[in-house]
């Protein structure tokens, strides 16, 4: 995984002609002072606009705070969390979020590996494929959600047209987004479209550092391609795979844009992030919504810890 930006070739400066009899300690001190001077503005910004609001969210989650309310703000202990545990909407939002995360990440990973394997072979036009794969990633999620909504359209969407009029797979058009039995899957399909190429590109970077002679040796030993995949490719790809999985899982778990643009806060597809925003902003239950967002925060923190354990195990 040396594919980083850091590998750009740099001009090598000429070695200093003199010996190192420089005021080292003065330099060190100056550098230490300078370091803090340089770090300070960024740290200040991060603390003020990210860390402080984050701590504030924790605090608010234990209060009954409301926006624009004249009622006094009281500490209510774990009431907000207890409420969430009993709230069907929250439970179903949690369910949708889990289904969305597991399904989209699983499909994207499998498809991503397949696509990465395909474009890893040297063929004419490989650059074109790689370029085309960046397009879904570059399109804003709001835009891609609208494009797919257009394609999912019941009476004159291209998807129904192909399935009904051209291929005859379906007998009548389906209202993919409106129908609760298809809505979540339809949204997952959009996420898969947008993110599989990205996944594939990350995995491709991992594939490219597997030395070719490993395969040659395996072929000499008579290993089938299938065996080679399971015994060589996958194990060697694992570090890259884990990193890609972390990123995708964290992203999928906080999904907001694609679901909100396609379905709003309708109950058949509501996710945790939509629930939290609706509670905080539309209903102005700042405390209760903060509790929901703290739950999301801890789920993601948990995922990060689990994954980084896995990565560490991998490294040892």
């Amino acid at each position: 995984m040396t594919q980083g930006v850091a590998t750009a070739p740099l001009p090598q400066p000429a070695k200093p002609g003199r010996s190192y009899d420089l005021p080292q300690s003065g330099w060190m001190k100056a550098r230490e002072r300078l370091a803090w001077l340089l770090v300070a503005p960024s740290i200040l910004v991060v603390v003020l606009v990210a860390l402080y609001p984050l701590l504030q969210s924790f605090r608010l989650s234990f209060t009954n705070a409301r926006f624009g309310s004249t009622r006094p703000e009281l500490y209510v202990g774990f009431d907000n969390y207890a409420r969430l545990a009993q709230d069907n909407v929250f439970i179903s939002a949690l369910g949708h979020t889990l289904v969305f995360t597991v399904a989209s990440v699983a499909i994207e990973t499998i498809l991503g590996i397949a696509v990465a394997l395909i474009i890893n072979s040297n063929f004419n036009g490989r650059g074109v494929v790689r370029t085309s794969m960046l397009i879904p990633w570059a399109i804003p999620t709001v835009v891609s959600s609208q494009l797919w909504r257009f394609m999912y359209n019941q009476d004159n969407g291209v998807i129904n047209d192909v399935l009904v009029n051209r291929l005859g797979i379906l007998s009548s058009p389906v209202a993919w987004i409106a129908n609760p039995s298809t809505s979540l899957s339809a949204i997952i399909a959009v996420d898969v479209w947008k993110t599989t190429p990205f996944m594939a590109l990350l995995l491709l970077a991992g594939l490219q550092i597997i030395p070719g002679d490993v395969y040659e040796a395996a072929t000499v030993d008579g290993a089938s391609k299938w065996q080679q995949f399971w015994q060589i490719t996958l194990p060697l790809l694992k570090p890259a795979l884990l990193v890609a999985l972390i990123f995708r899982t964290l992203d999928a778990f906080r999904v907001f844009d694609v679901v909100f643009v396609m379905k709003g806060a309708a109950l058949d597809t509501i996710t945790l992030a939509i629930y939290a925003r609706q509670t905080m902003i539309d209903e102005q239950y700042l405390g209760r919504g903060a509790a929901a967002s703290v739950v999301i925060f801890f789920c993601i923190a948990l995922l990060v810890i689990v994954y980084s354990r896995l990565v560490r195990v991998e490294e040892t």
Binding site: G68, S69, T70, Q154, A178, K263
Partner: protein, 483 residues
């Protein structure tokens, strides 16, 4: 924070403004696109504007804005020099010149100085700013125009107008006065209003042998089904009935009409009782569920006002539930539906307590508790909400008045014929959303209601289970409010 009040719909405003010639064609196009209207609909609005520029004699050539204002009798003239600042429409709104003219005329008559303070254009922003100013007990502004769903939120900052203007309040529609009353105090004086209507294709009704538009929901279903069956042979996209089924404020308005018209209550009664989980309301929800995929398209459960209009206006639906603004769009000269659209009250249900119902929208005037010039402010409200001024506002600016007698005025009937016909809608079953009793928790109540109703419509739960869930959630909210 989606569409707090669909009744003061931006599309409605656009149409109204374009009809009164205050917008350039370019401006209409720009705003139509921003609202997400399709090319043909914008085209209709544009040509409606052209036509009305020719035909409309509401403001005869050479007349000043405010030409129809007659100063009501009995205004106090003993407060000269008092200064009243009123937050009315937004700065670029075409109602502004009329409102400023009305202020000038008031000042001339009473000696009270008046100042127009523009409000925010979006209802959400407007409420946020009001909350800031009133929360800080600012005495900067004396009068605020408030949305029909806000009285419960701003009540604590309002002067009780019953103390001084009870006689005037008695002239206004009782449903709106009741909506604007919090614990017996009149928070805002009704100013102009809006309500849900049933649009129908009179040509198709005739063609399929229906003499009258439907009186009941069952008749609606029957007519819609018959017309849809016949029309869909030529036009696969044709549907019987389109309405607003997306999970948003508009669905609260639609579903309130279904349940109230069936005697199923108004979601939360003014005394705080939750009325959703009863046989009539459940039957009303199940009836609407039954429309989906029969007389209504399957994706009606994602429709809002423009999407319903976009189905009805090109001639792809027999019936539509919408607000008054939709009428002029369907009657633009190059609309395929000129002379083919009728408007009537929404149908009623059956059983005990069945009635016609139309969800209320509209604006009221409130006097701030922190005003230093309350007497003068009250006098201005008395003036602006008088029959004389409501009549002038109706004639010149096409707003629906809140005083029954104004609808019967010959001049109003002559110049605003379509509005005049709406009187029974407001008088009969105009029903307010339970915003007053739920105060600042109204949004929560509405979200709990419309998300569950949307679930019923998409078949995720049945009407009975949905009603029970809504009841439980609304009872929680009412408990929080101390009921």
């Amino acid at each position: 924070m989606h569409g707090h009040d669909s009744s003061s719909s931006p599309v409605g405003r656009l149409v109204a403004e374009s009809l009164t010639g205050h917008l350039s064609r370019r401006e209409i196009m720009k705003r139509g696109i921003a609202l997400g209207l399709s090319g043909p609909v914008i085209g209709m609005i544009l040509s409606a504007q052209q036509r009305s520029a020719l035909a409309q004699d509401a403001t005869p050539a050479g007349q000043e804005v405010g030409w129809s204002i007659v100063v009501p009798e009995g205004l106090r003239t003993d407060l000269p020099g008092a200064r009243v600042r009123a937050v009315l429409t937004s700065s670029a709104h075409p109602d502004r010149p009329w409102q400023e003219a009305a202020m000038r005329i008031f000042s001339e008559a009473t000696g009270i100085t008046t100042e127009f303070v523009p409000g925010e254009e979006s209802a959400t922003d407007r409420l946020a700013i009001y909350n800031q100013q009133l929360g800080a007990q600012s005495s900067d502004n004396d009068i605020y125009q408030i949305d029909v769903i806000w009285p419960g939120i701003v009540a604590q900052h309002a002067v009780d107008l019953n103390q001084s203007l009870a006689d005037l309040a008695a002239l206004h529609f009782p449903a709106i006065v009741e909506n604007n009353s919090v614990d017996g105090a009149l928070v805002g004086m009704p100013w102009y209003t809006d309500a849900g209507l049933l649009y129908y294709r009179s040509d198709l009704l005739e063609e399929y042998g229906f003499e009258n538009p439907p009186e009941t929901w069952d008749e609606l279903q029957e007519q819609a089904q018959a017309i849809q069956d016949g029309e869909s042979a030529d036009n696969a996209s044709f549907r019987g009935f389109v309405w607003q089924g997306n999970a948003y404020e508009g669905l609260t308005c639609n579903a309130l009409e279904w349940q109230f018209s069936s005697g199923g209550g108004r979601i939360i009664e003014p005394d705080g009782t939750v009325t959703v989980n009863n046989p009539q309301a459940i039957a009303a929800f199940d009836r609407a569920r039954n429309w989906v995929e029969t007389i209504s398209p399957e994706d009606v459960t994602t429709f809002n006002e423009p999407s319903s209009l976009n189905a009805f206006a090109p001639g792809n639906a027999a019936f539509m539930r919408n607000w008054p603004y939709a009428y002029s769009v369907t009657q633009a000269p190059d609309s395929p539906l000129v002379g083919m659209v009728g408007v009537t009250q929404l149908p009623m249900g059956d059983g005990e307590g069945a009635t016609h119902a139309a969800t209320l929208g509209g604006w009221q005037l409130m006097v701030s508790n922190y005003s230093q010039n309350q007497e003068a402010a009250i006098e201005f409200v008395k003036y602006l909400c008088s029959p004389e001024l409501e009549k002038a506002f109706t004639i010149e600016r096409s707003h629906s008045p809140t005083i029954s007698a104004v609808y019967d005025d010959p001049e109003v009937i002559e110049l605003q014929e379509f509005l005049a016909r709406l009187k029974p809608v407001f008088e009969g079953g105009a029903v307010a959303r339970p915003s007053t009793v739920t105060a600042d928790l109204y949004n929560s109540a509405s979200i709990a209601y419309h998300t569950r109703v949307n679930q019923i419509l998409t078949g995720q739960i049945d009407g009975a289970a949905g009603a029970a869930e809504i009841e439980a959630e609304l009872q929680d909210i009412m408990a929080e409010l101390g009921y």
